[in-house]
């Protein structure tokens, strides 16, 4: 029955094709994602003549389906018959490049760029270039924005291979120029953001003669959103030009952008400052960028100051070495000092996250003299985020001046944060405890911080108690089991007699966390008796946590202790009046495979696993 066999293999594909137009989006999406399977089954000929025309017209679908389609088509070359026929993929991608959803358009452009590489130079000129021109002169701005991203990829290859080199290039530049002065800001924005990329594929002469005027025009566009994108283009163009042309061609415009009326443009300059610095080189940095950076640090808009403050370290690092220290000390540091007492918390917090990095650049003496006072001010800042940023970057200062000197002033701030009214701040501090402990050493820790770590165990927020137990585990990992036995374990076990059942439960949680790192001896000798004693607690929550705890520490205990001590307790809990206690006790018992249990308890679970077994064997059979 050859025919019947054929049907069998067709069936799944037939389902996939039918589901391309199913009402359920998820099924359509599924089918689109398996488009390569469909194309493979149809063969290259039918894919080209039937499937692709259908797909070209299905641009009415949901965005996620279109997005998947645009992505699939980018790697479809083989399925339509290889590079020879790759141009068949252009029509569906062209229609996808005009939809209103930006992510779909971007994906279509990405796929177009990808398949442009697979075109032969002739095909590129015959099929691809006309497509770009069509998009560039389309009625709707969506197609024109898409065109902006395509000039960069198709022209370098056309131009080298064909004799129409000059004219193609000139039309490309001409089209791009039209897009740069488009009526709609959306297209000008797209052109502005792709200008740098386009410039990269052009000869230097064209950059100078054609791209620079476009850049200057976009950088003085009436729309803020266009101007701010021109900043980025300016950075890429600056990287292309030789040093001697920078001053005349790009710098006036960039200087103007750094002083733009709109804070969003200035923000962009601040945000791209390190790239800019790299692009223009040390001389211009010294003469132009340093004053510009100072202005940005003193900007009247907090967002701009925040962006600039974020760049302080990177900027200082990349200053030319010979004059670095003088520039920082005379120009940058005064501004930084002002920022430390800024009115805006985001500015201060951005600064706090990078300011410690300056110490490695300036060396020990300058750090102690100039930076340390600033750190101290920030450590006492009213906003916890600022203080936190300082503490989390302690390691870089540690390398320069040593932790002893720092900790004198540091400790009060940490204690204060540890008792902050916001639990999220406390939580963040807990997370830095192991790091601090490692830096400070055992003695110092015992003396100053141990009591804090214990206090967190009885915090009234569960998240803090949980983090505190986790913290203890990490501390023990650092300081060893012996230290744990002497300092932590007695305190933890002492809480088992607390009158608050939440604290008693914390004991159990701590034991869960500590048993493994503390090892068998401590667990069996010290922890187990306490846990077993708690099995008679009057609060059911404590009792079922005893069961869970026993299951958790079971692997650490030796088998004699398990049989002699754990087993009777769990069996007793398994007959508890409370449902949950019973449940967890049984789970602990089955989890440990300790005993031969009466079958009725397992009956349900057993039948379930047998069903699973059947299911697996069924699906594995051919």
């Amino acid at each position: 029955m050859a025919g019947a066999e054929g049907d069998d293999s067709l069936y799944p594909i037939a389902v996939l094709i039918d589901e391309l137009r199913n009402e359920d989006v998820q099924l359509r999406l599924n089918s689109i994602k398996k488009l390569s399977t469909i194309a493979l089954a149809l063969g290259v000929e039918r894919t080209r003549t039937e499937l692709l025309p259908f797909l070209t017209d299905t641009i009415y679908d949901e965005d996620e389906v279109l997005l998947a389609l645009a992505e699939q088509l980018g790697s479809f070359t083989v399925l339509v018959g290889g590079p020879e026929f790759v141009h068949c993929l252009l029509p569906p991608l062209e229609s996808l490049a005009t939809v209103e959803e930006t992510v779909v358009r971007d994906k279509a452009v990405e796929s177009l760029r990808k398949i442009s590489q697979e075109h032969s130079p002739v095909d590129l000129e015959v099929h691809f270039v006309p497509l770009v021109k069509r998009l560039a002169s389309g009625d709707w701005f969506t197609s024109r924005t898409s065109a902006c991203g395509l000039f960069g990829v198709c022209y370098p290859r056309v131009s080298i291979m064909t004799h129409t080199f000059e004219s193609t290039l000139i039309t490309a530049v001409m089209h791009f120029r039209t897009l740069c002065s488009d009526d709609t800001p959306m297209v000008r924005r797209a052109a502005s953001s792709k200008l740098g990329e386009f410039a990269k594929v052009l000869e230097l002469d064209y950059v100078k003669s054609d791209i620079i005027p476009l850049f200057t025009a976009l950088a003085s566009d009436e729309q803020d959103s266009v101007r701010l994108l021109a900043v980025e283009a300016g950075v890429s163009i600056a990287a292309l030009l030789p040093q001697e042309d920078l001053e005349d061609l790009v710098m006036p415009t960039l200087r103007q952008a750094a002083e733009d009326k709109s804070w969003r443009v200035r923000y962009m300059v601040a945000d791209k400052f390190s790239e800019l610095q790299k692009a223009v080189g040390p001389e211009i940095t010294k003469n132009d960028l340093v004053p510009a950076f100072q202005n940005l640090l003193k900007d009247c808009e907090a967002e701009v100051r925040t962006a600039a403050a974020n760049k302080v370290k990177v900027f200082c690092e990349s200053l030319p070495e010979d004059s670095r220290e003088t520039i920082i000390m005379t120009h940058i540091l005064p501004c930084v000092k002002e920022l430390v007492s800024d009115t805006n918390q985001h500015v201060k917090s951005a600064l706090a996250s990078v300011i410690m990095g300056l110490s490695t650049i300036l060396g020990k003496d300058n750090t102690v003299e100039h930076l340390l006072p600033l750190f101290l001010v920030q450590l006492k800042d009213e906003y916890p985020e600022v203080r936190l940023n300082i503490i989390s970057n302690l390691d870089c200062v540690n390398e320069v001046i040593g932790i002893r000197q720092l900790s004198q002033s540091l400790l009060p701030a940490i204690v204060e944060l540890a008792e902050d009214a916001k639990w999220r701040v406390r939580l963040a501090i807990i997370e830095y405890m192991p790091l601090l402990a490692g830096q400070l050493g055992v003695e110092f820790f015992d003396e100053k911080l141990n009591s804090l770590c214990m206090a967190w165990l009885i915090d009234h927020v569960y998240a803090i108690r949980e983090a505190a137990t986790c913290n203890l585990m990490k501390l023990v990992e650092k300081f060893g089991a012996e230290w744990a036995q002497n300092t932590i374990v007695p305190k933890v076990l002492g809480m088992a007699n607390d009158s608050n059942y939440l604290h008693r439960m914390t004991t159990l949680f701590c034991i869960n966390a500590l048993s493994e790192v503390c090892g068998q001896e401590i667990t069996t000798k010290h922890m187990l008796p306490v846990v077993l004693k708690m099995s008679t607690d009057q609060v059911a929550n404590v009792r079922f946590n005893v069961a869970r705890c026993l299951q958790k520490i079971g692997p650490v205990l030796d088998s004699s202790a398990l049989q002699a001590e754990v087993k009777p307790v769990l069996e007793k809990l398994a007959t508890d009046q409370d449902m949950d206690v019973k449940y967890f006790a049984l789970e602990a018992i089955s989890g440990m495979y300790l005993f031969n249990l009466p079958t009725y308890i397992f009956s349900e679970t057993f039948s379930f696993s047998s069903i699973l077994f059947f299911f697996f064997s069924f699906s594995l059979s051919p």
Partner: protein
């Protein structure tokens, strides 16, 4: 604006026979070309009208070209309940704004008190045909008959208009949204509630930026609320908002991220001789609109409509009395809550004429050049399609003419609050409770 040239002619009125609360129209808006007109109602529905093109209107009998017909109707908002605050959220559409054209589809923003939605209105005239495993009626085929694969083919069908929600901008407002306005950059828009103005990116629904916040630390210190806000038509960084105290504030977003400090404040000094218990209520601005040129602002308060020059902050350049005769009746208008009615105002396409609403199905137009005003009536009893609209007069003393209406016989339940003017032609859309009237200037019809 002589009566001859401007007496509009009734072209089409969209009349319904029954009135339910849900049918009351709450906003009217033309798109950028004027080919589409959208209305929102208290029932959360949006109705889109399309202007018939010349080619479609086959002859005069079938309907004059330029007539607006229903294009699509959809439910934009549903009634909702805020469980945290135990508040009902009405489905009423407060505002509709069209987005600039970006491809073959049309996009509009609609908002109720809390949630703004972006809708896509698109046409499709093709339908895929051909299944592998079932026939066109949906009957499952016998698998053994499937011997080859079939790719669906698109066949032309009747034109279908699809409306789909594209984005939902929720949770941005604690108070009631009164305005939305699309920025000239085409990628952002603002939404204003009583105390705050937020700025959104059209592609991003999960965050918005607060650009104005007038909420005092203590709500007992609250003295004014935001009543309307709009972006400048050309300068992407400028927007204006009006307040219940009768002031306008122009903000420049270039200066700082938070625009709590206005760059200009437009305010008319109060006339001490005219002060009364109602002074503050009647001076509350109910609507503000930039002129198409971007040079002027138009505002409406309870009794007047004013034109402001952006270059002059100390007072309006023009003031027109809409219904001055109501000044003596403010007490009873306060009692029946009419004094809080929010009238809208609009510019014509060339900024030479302004229009606003009144009571008794009257609406008023003022010619800025001559300063003359006319009162027109949108009322179905005396309006047949293609009839010329009569001007009306309210009798306030002096010689009474035939047809004049006395102040005491004005019907305050028939209010004209919402209206729109075609962006290029003399076509106006007037919402009178549950009826939408579209009037077209006779001159422009004859010239066609």
């Amino acid at each position: 604006m002589g009566e001859d040239s401007e007496s509009p002619k009734i072209n089409h009125s969209f009349l319904r026979d029954y009135v339910t609360e849900a049918d009351v129209i709450s906003t009217v808006e033309f798109n950028q070309t004027g080919d589409l007109l959208a209305t929102g109602d208290k029932g959360g529905r949006v109705v889109i009208f399309q202007r018939e093109t010349e080619s479609k209107g086959e002859s005069e009998e079938l309907g004059e070209s330029g007539e607006y017909n229903v294009y699509s109707t959809f439910q934009s908002h549903e009634p909702d309940f805020d469980y945290l605050k135990s508040l009902e959220i009405e489905e009423k559409i407060n505002k509709i704004r069209w987005l600039p054209h970006q491809n073959a589809a049309h996009f509009l923003l609609s908002t109720n008190d809390k949630t703004i939605k972006l809708w896509k209105v698109s046409e499709r005239d093709k339908r895929p045909e051909g299944y592998n495993l079932k026939d066109e009626e949906g009957r499952i085929k016998d698998i053994s008959t499937v011997t080859s694969l079939r790719v669906p083919v698109l066949k032309p069908t009747d034109l279908m208009v699809e409306v789909r929600p594209r984005r939902i901008f929720a949770n941005g407002h604690t108070y009631h949204v009164n305005s939305i306005s699309v920025n000239s950059d085409g990628e952002t828009y603002l939404s204003a509630d009583d105390l705050r103005i937020n700025m959104w990116h059209l592609d991003i629904t999960d965050r918005s930026f607060n650009i104005v916040d007038i909420k005092p630390a203590n709500m007992e210190d609250l003295t004014e609320v935001i009543t309307a806000a709009e972006f400048h038509p050309q300068h992407c960084h400028l927007f204006v908002y009006s307040s219940s105290k009768g002031t306008l504030r122009l903000c420049d977003m270039r200066e700082s991220a938070l625009c709590d400090k206005h760059s200009k404040i437009f305010e008319e000094p109060e006339d001490p001789g005219n002060r009364s218990f109602f002074s503050e209520i009647v001076s509350s601005v109910s609507d503000v609109k930039f002129s198409h040129s971007g040079r002027y602002l138009l505002t409406r308060d309870y009794l007047t409509v004013k034109v402001w020059d952006l270059n002059m902050e100390k007072g309006p350049v023009e003031t027109y009395q809409v219904h001055e005769y109501l000044r003596s009746k403010l007490c009873s208008l306060y009692e029946n809550d009419c004094i809080f009615d929010k009238f809208e105002c609009v510019w014509n396409s060339t900024d030479s004429v302004i229009m606003t609403g009144a009571y008794n199905s009257f609406f008023r137009m003022f010619d800025r050049e001559t300063g003359r005003g006319v009162t027109l009536e949108a009322w179905r009893e005396n309006s047949k399609p293609r009839a010329v609209l009569r001007t009306r007069r309210v009798y306030t003393g002096g010689r009474r003419r035939r047809g004049d209406v006395g102040v005491d016989s004005l019907d305050f339940t028939k209010k004209i609050l919402h209206m729109a003017w075609h962006p290029a032609e003399n076509i106006i859309a007037i919402a009178a409770t549950n009826n939408l009237y579209i009037f077209q200037d006779r001159v422009s019809v004859e010239n066609q």
